[in-house]
């Protein structure tokens, strides 16, 4: 399960992720993170059964945690199966099937958003 963790500056100085790993013993996989002087955002992956435990522990430390149930949203009616998204995706979410139809493996997606601008037909968007 993927979690999107947001924290603000004061709390950003606390080692939230490390703290939660130590407290819960859950091995957290950081898929991407952007942390600057005022705020931070990290996308982490944890085993499904420990998802709630990690979420609650992080929330207790002051982080804002959202469970991400969906990867990138693919609008099939706009998509023309060109494949412009394929090479810009860092996680190989997009592939062609034998019929040259675009195949989207949503579960691999880390919501980095690189494909959104690369799509000439505006068929890709962040899930709500």
């Amino acid at each position: 399960m993927k979690l999107l963790v947001n924290f603000s500056r004061g709390k950003g100085r606390k080692p939230i992720i490390a703290q939660v790993v130590r407290d819960t013993g859950v091995l957290i996989n950081v898929e991407r993170a952007l942390i600057d002087s005022s705020e931070g955002e990290a996308l982490i992956e944890v085993p499904d059964e420990q998802c709630k435990l990690v979420r609650d522990s992080m929330a207790n430390l002051g982080a804002n945690v959202r469970i991400l149930e969906h990867g990138i949203h693919h609008d099939e009616s706009e998509c023309i199966d060109c494949g412009a998204c394929i090479s810009v995706c860092p996680r190989e979410v997009f592939t062609f099937d034998e019929e040259w139809k675009l195949n989207v493996e949503e579960e691999k997606c880390i919501l980095c958003g690189k494909c959104i601008d690369a799509c000439p037909h505006r068929a890709l968007s962040l899930p709500l």
Binding site: I80, C82, G83, A84, C85, I86, S87, P120
Partner: protein, 502 residues
């Protein structure tokens, strides 16, 4: 042995014709041999579906009461050409909306019309005795227009060079998103299915030949603009009735950072008349080569990174200097197949009639760059030649004095041989003074990565460097990396009033 168009028509009429797509043809030729394939196959259908910027449509609105001679025309806030009087216009695919800019353009107007949506027409005129009306605003459906004739000056490129990017920043081009550090390769074109690639000698493709255009029966007008068939980059000018087109084969698009374009589905049926046609239509992705160009060079002379075939591009990976680089297509191979399949069913049903060109296309033509009589401003026209430099081994205070004396903000740093090695700004020196530490010499505080310009470079390129790097000066260097001048944001003021035209 050869077949005539009449014989092929007869077989179509009798339901005995064998029609195949250009993708199926190579295997048939491999199996039956050239003579066998000539006997077996009557028509090969081609297809492509990709971004074709040079597209648009002529529209006739009909007259209003009182009548107007439209001089300026907008459709959903996208300006259309007003020089055709009185109620005709040409709407170009890449023209962008006055309000929505790159998110909506002429291509979207065309798609909306084809999709049955209403489009707002706004037009103005200065008014004449015969056309007294000065403005009109009305909502129109495609069915309200007398004519809506697509006419695309440059479609169906024979093949297209692929793109990559060796810089350290992402580039947004008409070839899509190019990741830094040769991070990906972008290509376009249907390869084996491409119409002209199946008839590179233009024996069957020429004026008057019926085609599939965006789902409607269309026709080849003739040679496309910028056609360069001698070099293997032929193009076609095509036309078709917008009213019969389908959204399945006509789609508006926006290339981020570039602008609006139109995706066009286009297919040409090729009658298999003789062995030359068999050989030409036996072309495979493996036989069609293109260069991968480095789009990091913002000019026409982009270096070739590698020469590859469509088969390599379509495999999803290309090896560049020992690294596997992933490829992306901008055109849709799946849609190109659909075009060729649909066209195949048209030919089988006899709903499209095959003809030979009424006028051939000159295969020896080569497109030339623009004839430029007035070069645009170059860096040497506006650069400041009285540039002050400082040696990397000087004290910081020396640099500060030089900046004060020269009333400058940027000081290029040179080594003992006069070669540019860095740059210091008033900011760097202020910082060094405010935080006194170990730094005493210029080389301790200079920025080593210097963005430079050359004297014969276009000012537009230099301006792009300033903007992209968020800086305000570029040392101008010669071939030996010696600093010969400096171009600052202030020098750009010389461009106003044509003062650079000395």
């Amino acid at each position: 042995m050869h077949k005539t168009i009449e014989q092929i028509h007869e077989r179509i009429r009798d339901g005995n014709a064998r029609v195949v797509t250009a993708e199926e043809m190579p295997a048939i030729v491999a199996e039956l041999g050239e003579k066998g394939a000539l006997k077996e196959v009557d028509v090969v259908t081609t297809g492509t579906f990709g971004a074709m910027c040079s597209s648009g449509a002529f529209l006739n609105f009909g007259h209003a009461e009182p009548p107007i001679r439209m001089e300026r025309i907008w459709l959903n806030n996208v300006e259309a050409y007003g020089g055709l009087a009185a109620v005709d216009t040409y709407i170009g695919a890449t023209q962008q909306s006055d309000t929505l800019e790159a998110e909506y353009g002429g291509a979207h107007v065309l798609e909306d019309l084809v999709a049955g949506k209403s489009v707002e027409l706004r037009a103005s005129s200065h008014g004449t005795d015969c056309y007294p009306r000065r403005t009109i605003t009305t909502d129109l459906l495609l069915e309200n227009l007398n004519q809506a004739i697509m006419c695309n000056p440059r479609n169906a490129y024979q093949r297209y060079n692929a793109a990559t990017n060796t810089t350290d920043r992402t580039l947004h081009t008409y070839m899509g998103t190019l990741l830094p550090g040769t991070g990906n390769i972008s290509y376009s074109g249907a390869g084996v299915l491409n119409p002209i690639s199946n008839d590179p000698q233009f024996r069957l493709i020429g004026s008057g030949v019926p085609i599939f255009l965006c789902g409607a029966p269309g026709m080849i007008v003739g040679e496309g603009t910028q056609a360069s068939p001698a070099g293997g980059f032929g193009t076609l000018m095509v036309t078709g009735d917008l009213k019969q087109m389908s959204q399945d084969y006509l789609r508006a698009a926006t290339m981020t950072g570039y602008g609006v374009t139109l995706y066009v589905g286009l297919g040409v049926p090729l009658p298999v008349l003789d062995l030359d046609v068999v050989r030409a239509t036996a072309v495979r992705d493996e036989d069609i080569r293109v260069d991968i160009l480095d789009y990091s060079v913002p000019g026409r002379s982009r270096p070739t990174v590698k020469n590859v075939t469509y088969a390599e591009l379509r495999s999803g990976m290309v090896d560049i200097n020992g690294e596997e680089v992933r490829t992306s297509s901008l055109s849709s191979y799946r849609k190109a197949r659909e075009v060729a399949q649909e066209l195949k069913s048209w030919v089988e049903k006899g709903s499209i009639r095959l003809t030979l060109p009424t006028r051939p296309i000159d295969t020896t033509k080569q497109a030339h760059p623009i004839h430029q009589t007035t070069p645009g401003p170059r860096v040497l026209d506006i650069m400041c030649r009285s540039v002050i430099t400082v040696s990397e081994n000087e004290e910081i205070t020396t640099a500060a004095k030089k900046l004060l004396k020269g009333e400058a903000n940027h000081l290029p740093v040179v080594n003992g041989n006069g070669v540019l090695v860095g740059i210091v700004t008033t900011f760097d020196i202020s910082k060094a003074v405010a935080n006194p530490g170990k730094a005493h010499l210029v080389r301790d505080i200079m920025k080593k990565k210097v963005i430079t310009a050359t004297a014969d470079e276009s000012v537009d390129i230099a301006v792009q460097k300033l903007e992209q790097n968020n800086i305000s000066a570029l040392p101008v260097i010669d071939h030996q990396q010696h600093v010969i001048a400096i171009l600052t944001a202030m020098d750009l003021g010389k461009l106003f009033g044509g003062r650079w035209l000395k």
